[in-house]
Amino acid sequence: MKRLLVCLLICLGVLTPRARATEPDQLFESLRRKILAVTDYTAQVKIKINVTYMRIPPMAGTLYFKAPDKMRLERRGGLSILPRRNVHLTLNNLVPTGNVTVIDAGTEMKNGRNLRIIKVIPEDDKSEIILAKIWVDEAHMLAMHLETTTRNEGTVNMEMEYGKYVNYSLPDKVTIIMDIKDFKLPKGVALDYNESTDPKPEKEIKNKKGTVQISYLSYEINKGLSDAVFNEE
């Protein structure tokens, strides 16, 4: 009986490390390495802004990114409209750098995938990011959802869908969920035509969230973008 118990304990001891999921800090490190491997890209994009007071048709253009924090949308003579802190549109800037503390926050089923949740707290007190909560697809080492609380810009929520560029951890589609402030102009200034006298539905008034959806149609990755690309008036 004693021999049997000893054998069982030995077997368990040998097997447990293999069966146990990756440690959260290892998982985060692997994820960060993969994301930060992309130092620049040029992407053909289609942007759809869905904010209650904004009526903007889908905008096609070229999005340039260069690590760590350069981003520019070019629309061939047209206007470019991006959320104010547009560097947050890319994963690279929402994943904390430097020494961090990673906490396992369990798992969650999302769109038929079992995702591991980790919370990342930067050790640097001056870091812009206070906390990042990342939903990770361990099998493909991809961040599927990101909730980053920043020091000055509030919380940024980001959902990713991957396709052709999965190996670079670059999404085909990103949905950014943001808090929206009210927009009002004095009626005497705007001189509206066909203004509605009916009060707005309560749901519309309460809904202060907006989304920015970016569909990446194609990428050119790590081609060494010049800084001059980002210089504009």
Binding site: Y53, M54, R55, I56, P57, L73, R75, G77, G78, L79, S80, I81, L82, P83, R84, N86, M178, I180, K181, D182, F183, K184, L185, P186, K187, G188, V189, A190, L191, D192, Y193, N194, E195, T197, E232
Partner: protein, 279 residues
């Protein structure tokens, strides 16, 4: 009838005051264009302040399309005055000069004369709007270049893509012509009551100013009468710069303006038919 129309057009375009209107349109648009060239950014900053806090807008915002829109909005009161300058003079000017009786001694019926004066005022209105399109839109495009256009409403931010704007301007100018034709018919109507053209011109302006104020007052009582005032519908051209296009509202405005024009024209014919012309 055609001969009579030619004579009426000759009379309109022979008068120097006719060209004052074209000069005024040119002067106002040039002043606004110069102001936008020198300080357009601060003007825009005021309108966009609630949006630039959250969104980063880059590119040629102050482009020709936006400047033309600002000009048209600024000329809301001025263009009716310029139309009234000519239309208000149509009968009253003749009465003042003592030529009305002379015309009516010719083989022309009174309704024919009213219709010819209405058509000649309409042609003048069309030419004024075409001139406005040239100096406000095409000159602005030349000075500021084309681009996507921003339209700021009191509770909305509308962006129109540059390829989707020119037809909107064509429709807006056509609608403005309809609105100004209503003003012309009102002026002609007032003109048959007077023997001096200043009266109908000032009366037209008075009516337009008072009704425009009522149309823009945000009081529940005025909300009841607003849909029946033609001044409420005169800004229907702005509907073409909305997205989605308010077809129903634009259609309703066109019908109201058309009905007012018809009413003023019919009333003019009825009154002028019975009028005892002494000069």
């Amino acid at each position: 009838m055609i001969q009579l129309l030619r004579i009426e057009l000759f009379k309109i375009f022979k008068r120097p005051r006719t060209y004052i209107s074209f000069g005024i349109v040119t002067a106002i648009t040039s002043i606004i264009q110069l102001a936008m060239l020198s300080d357009g950014k601060s003007f825009l900053a005021f309108g966009l302040q609630g949006i630039v806090d959250q969104f980063d807008i880059r590119g040629n915002i102050m482009n020709g399309y936006l400047v033309a829109f600002i000009i048209l909005q600024s000329l809301l009161i001025h263009i009716p005055l310029l139309v009234a300058l000519v239309a208000g003079d149509s009968f009253a000017g003749e009465a003042n000069a003592g030529t009305l009786r002379l015309i009516l001694t010719k083989p022309v019926t009174r309704p024919q004369l009213v219709i010819v004066k209405f058509i000649s005022s309409f042609i003048y209105t069309v030419l004024l709007i075409v001139w406005l399109a040239i100096v406000a839109l095409f000159l602005s495009l030349l000075l500021f270049g084309p681009g996507d256009m921003i339209n700021l409403k009191s509770d909305a931010f509308v962006l129109l893509l540059r390829d989707d704007i020119m037809w909107r301007y064509a429709a807006a100018f056509a609608f403005s012509t309809l609105a100004m034709t209503t003003i012309a018919s009102l002026s002609i109507f007032l003109s048959v009551f007077a023997d001096n053209s200043i009266g109908p011109i000032i009366s037209t302006m008075g009516i337009v100013v008072v009704l425009t104020i009522l149309s823009n007052l945000q009081l529940p009582f005025f909300n009841l009468i607003k849909p029946y005032l033609f001044t409420t519908h005169m800004i229907g051209w702005k509907g073409f710069f909305d997205d989605p296009l308010p077809y129903k509202a634009i259609g309703r405005s066109s019908v109201v303006l058309g009905a007012y024009t018809l009413f003023f024209l019919t009333a003019t014919i009825i009154y002028f038919n019975k009028k005892d012309i002494k000069s």
